[in-house]
Symmetry: D2
Subunit: 439 residues, 4 copies
């Protein structure tokens, strides 16, 4: 259950300064966001009627520029850090943060920390980069992050040491689940020292699996890149007798990329995602389904999310390891399926040709699509507006088509996943023609 308190945003204090944005644009030019501008957590009619007790239903604070700001912009020294794996659009976000701070607010000093949270720990020796409008002007044309990145969190106290040493009072953190947890520890450490440093997040997840973000930045660019690879798998599968194209896509816990890429490409016959259990053997298993498909159509394209079917390739005897970000190290379901499918058809005496494609790094490194470029610009703008208003321990979310403020603890409370009883999976089943179970 979500209560109104869960959605309350922390701030560093009242907004004492007139906003330079408001000064530039005039009082009437823009509707500044006020106290009552909140978005209902659940906007179905039934939800509101149920709550007709008179209690205020939970609602998110709307993102956007405020009439008054907490910080005197001339005294802001901002920092930006990018963490975790690459994702299309990170450079667009960096660019948007810098341009909005410099041009809309007149923030004089902006530092880019290098190689993720390592850049905030002195002993790694990564000197921060100075960022200004000129240095970020063209960076969105390339994928990746000009700041570099690394996985894993660092000691929050050492990170605060660096922030204090440089006089940083606003820090933007671009990262996923683990990075947000790291930012929450950092806020704890800041509060322990009674410092006034705002920490604002721009959520990054190529898997689109963070709650309260209708769509994460880079997600559309990623599945668009996947469509090209699926087309290649389809072409390879069509070119051989009993040709099978097997494509492994991102998706550790959530199958959004696999689903969206399959819907967009229209060339996929089977989609395997972590949220939907699938048998491998037996008459209701993938292998038997594949055999029937080849017999009828002569070829097949399978898309598997990296987190799917893990129960088939792990053994209870062997506990799963974790990586630097604390993520469980998954078994490689792509190689596993490749080998099992090949073995199956060899055993059945059927000549089949499987081509396996694993385009992960290629997809993560593409530049942001035009649509993601717009989206990143708005994420970045709103993150700056939120930070200037003195908010902290929050991130920019997207709820029912509007940018909102999401408390960090809410964002990491649970993961967004494909609901196998809901619309997206239904669309996939209708589009691929795959049965709900392989029977």
């Amino acid at each position: 259950m979500v209560t109104p308190a869960d959605l309350a945003i922390k701030d560093l204090g009242p907004c004492r300064h007139p906003s330079p944005v408001a000064e530039k644009l005039g009082e009437k030019a823009t509707v500044y966001v006020g106290e009552a501008d909140k978005v209902l957590f659940d906007d179905r009619l039934s939800a509101v009627l149920a709550d007709a007790s008179g209690a205020r239903p939970p609602a998110f604070e709307l993102a956007g520029p405020r009439n008054r700001v907490f910080w005197d912009p001339k005294e802001v020294r901002a920092g930006i850090v990018t963490c975790g794996g690459l994702c299309p659009g990170v450079n667009n976000v960096i660019r948007g943060l810098v341009l909005t701070m410099a041009q809309s607010y007149g923030v004089p000093e902006i530092f880019g920390f290098r190689y993720g949270y390592e850049g905030l720990v002195a002993r790694f020796g990564h000197a921060p980069m100075r960022l200004d409008p000129r240095s970020v002007e063209e960076i969105h044309r390339m994928g990746g992050t000009v700041l570099g990145t690394s996985r894993g969190n660092q000691d929050p106290h050492q990170m605060v040491d660096t922030l204090e040493a440089l006089g940083i009072n606003v820090l933007f953190v671009v990262g996923g689940d683990g990075t947000i947890r790291g930012a929450m520890s950092l806020v704890r450490a800041i509060e322990e020292r009674r410092l006034s440093i705002g920490v604002v997040g721009v959520p990054k997840t190529i898997d689109n699996d963070i709650k309260f973000i209708d769509r994460s930045f880079g997600f559309e660019s990623a599945f668009a890149a996947a469509v090209d690879v699926i087309r290649s798998a389809h072409v390879e599968a069509s070119g051989a007798k009993n040709g099978i194209g097997l494509v492994k896509l991102m998706g550790r816990h959530s199958g959004f990329i696999a689903c969206a890429a399959a819907l967009a490409s229209a060339d996929v016959d089977v989609v395997l995602i972590p949220e939907v259990h699938a048998e491998l053997d037996g008459p209701c298993g993938l292998l038997a389904h594949l055999e029937r498909r080849l017999a009828r159509h002569g070829n097949a394209v399978i898309v598997v999310a990296e987190g799917a079917m893990q129960e088939h390739c792990t053994s209870s005897a062997e506990p799963m390891a974790t990586d630097l970000s604390g993520n469980l190290k998954l078994k490689d379901i792509g190689l596993f399926l490749r080998d099992r499918i090949n073995a199956h058809f060899r055993a059945r005496g059927v000549e089949a040709t499987l081509k396996y494609l694993d385009p992960s790094y290629h997809i993560r490194s593409v530049p942001a699509s035009p649509s993601d470029s717009v989206y990143c610009w708005n994420m970045a703008r709103n993150a700056v507006h939120a930070a200037m208003a003195g908010n902290t321990e929050m991130l920019i979310g997207r709820w029912h088509g509007r940018f909102v403020h999401v408390p960090m603890p809410m964002a990491v409370r649970m993961r967004k996943q494909v609901d196998p009883t809901d619309d997206l999976w239904m669309a996939v089943v209708e589009a691929t023609g795959q049965p709900l179970s392989f029977c």
Copy 2:
């Protein structure tokens, strides 16, 4: 003011048949949409609190498959017609309609009417095409519409004649504002004859200017194509001393494409849209602003929506003509600006080089992007689900991130426009650095 009654969807009667979709997928597999599944018209907290009178706030019916359907699928003879200008994704919509009808419901006969509403009028002599899964399998790889299109409405009674003659009981209409009005006349004529024929719309507007559609299909593909053209304008402008790139984009009444393309490209200095008045002459006019920009930066890129600044290029003496769709014929603001800017700099003795790009047909004809492909699939699926449930005189909308049913009269009541005091225009102003007025 919108009342609950405004959002009520017409249907042809109660749903008497079990749904084949439900039979295939099982009762529990999917959450079928029920009576209470509506989406609040306004999901801001303040709106709901204000309406705490006990009255039900207005809410849209959720789109999606129903447990029971109105039509016996085996008796459905469906028609599809595409109207108006080209827009990326029309072929994807046709494909999605045909595949969902044939594969999810087992509809046996589907006709594609040729060249818009002309195809429904016998005297034009356009024989309809038979459509089945095989004939539409690959059509989404190309832009345009395999059915052809035309502008303008036709006599509704002659259209009903054709529907009756062919025994069509479900008609899907893909088109914009004018097309929807045509469909409403058609529904009148059907009702006059007391026929049971459902008319369901898939709203098409490359300008993204239909209300209750967060984002129209093809819109993202269109502004993505525009970004390439703007980059060319930027390259041309940078290559010449006092280089000016002028790009005319679609947008008769609404500047959404101009705004989105400018945000996505990051190369634009001035955006001109119908919703925002701009002076041409005088110290606060575009020409003076342009001169200042060239003096400081040496080049400039201008994006102008086709409906912008019409007051500058029309005279009250000469009343505006209308085209076959009943749209006012706009003056060509692109050529007008090209000539006025050239004349201005000539008069001022400043050597400037203006390159004018008008990519309209190129943009309209691109294939749907991966993201639009997913979106078109969902628009089409939900249109079939709505039609099978017996609904009529409605279209598929998208409200706060969910697919909903929108009564046709609501959809054409007013046009969606860029609000110059709201977030999108604010984002453009921050991104381009252009002043609110050219002063």
Copy 3:
């Protein structure tokens, strides 16, 4: 040494028929190719002067339409077969063969054999497809081959059985080195039965390693696709501290794709090809060079052709296996280098992050680029003109910018390779800055 005799083209007899092409276009419209239209094998001045003995220097027969043809077009029954791995443009070639035969010559019957040479052997049970202009109209928009393909040769006598049974008198073979050898055996078998069946080749090699083909079709499309992948490797390498991007590209015996992709991308620091020996260990080895590069620049991108450095990953104890096409099965130099580089930096206590990309199937499956589309059209046209003139056991080549006829035995006599003392490798060395040996 090449003698004029080596370049003589076999034909099936004198050209008895007026050409329908000539009839359509008129005598003067086109310069028909005559006896004296040959292209010098070596067009350097020194070569011709050296041969001023009066002997005719070796010269290739020019490709193109003849005034008279050997076959009566109305009696031609043609076959097309595509063999070996996928390569961009195969569908364009099929399309060009069919359209030129049907439209320029009026050939009435064209068969497409399925799945390579298997399709010519009855026991595999692959029925041939009928091909006509309508069925091939759109196939060039997709990569791959609509006929399917397989590796390896088949028994020539069983293949002739099929040709005789179907009454085929002209066979087009699209394939590489091994396929051409197969076609030569087929010609032997045809001659033994004293049949009049022409066999004309369209050489296909994504590696661009067939002699007398300045540039093979699909090669430009392939290295263009590789450029995208290299950019991703560059982005990944730049995003991490001591980031290394390692890309394995095609090139079993010849490094043309690796060289061209490196030159085109401008993001590559080291290129490894089969023709140039490279040490791995020691002060003049790749590993030491890489370490120096990381110390100076912080990241590196390596492109390795699949056939490079095989001496490092094979042992004399273990003889190399061969695949169905008779090609030696190479060791996977990509995985080998990945592991050796990782081990090296681990042993040196240097934290480095290597990302490995192996895009082979993706690259092979892309559609032909516009430039390759033109090229494929010309290869196909000229193959038809050559076949209609009664030539056999020959293929279409490209020599010094002109299409020529190449005897099959000449084409397989040796392989085209990058000459480490010549211009291409020099251009790579200048572009990457890599030393001639890693010292």
Copy 4:
């Protein structure tokens, strides 16, 4: 007639210095180009036999690095100037010139002159840019020219003043026909002052119409961009009853882009080029042909080169004007045809829908394709090698697949055009199915 003397390259004197390239790469590593390395002007066997008189046939000097160079690289002060209209790849050429000079030869100072020849004339006040490897590293990712450009020549004496003032001894000129003539005047002026300044050209012509350049840089990128536009025209034409897509492409005097784009797109029904006369009216005219085509197929796509059919839209009464580059100002054949076709069908009472696309600026501004990127790199490298060897008044050409040195007077002696009796036009006629005359 071309004589050996015509192909002799001017140089500034003997090569007195060892080449740093040779020093770096070692004597044996690369085959340095020697005196005898020339390419026969005509490599057809018949040509050589005819010349068996013992006379040396004309031959081009091969491009490439020399063992010894004329200039002491440390004393070279180089300049680069780009002139005329934009063309894909100019930035790649600039980058290649700078990198090869700086990295292969160690040239210490390189100036980029701004806005074409204007940048060499003091009174325009365009300060030159300093160029070094860092400043050009990323410029190839964008189209256009970072130096800017302008049309037209300037007074050669004023240009030499600037070269002398800056101490430039090597000047690279990137431009077309008119620019090369300007460079020849510049060489005259240099010679009059008895200065030792080398002038080396990199020929730029998006129309591919300079002699002795098999293929000009940017040409492939240009027609590839045109293919996209033609596809849009095809989609528009297919979407309307009697739909006509009309695309105007570059090609003032030569139809190479129109031909190549038509061959590559496979969607074109009529190609109109300057080299082939076409009637407009009458039974053998374009209009009658178009009417027959619509009656049979329902739609048509026409590609017209800008210089085609000029005789139809000019009158002898009105003499043609010239632009700054001295080019005749062509009448707009695109608008002319659009209006004449529309008028024709209106007069005939046939409802037809014509969509006109004029993508010129868009095509000129695209970045170089991967294949052009390789080509530009080689053009630039070889220009530097030629300049360092002391050559002057020459440009880099491409003859029979090899880079060669072409004397400037030879290059402008005549224009390269499509030969209507030769292979390219034949390929177009076969591909489009258009008749040789519209009868």
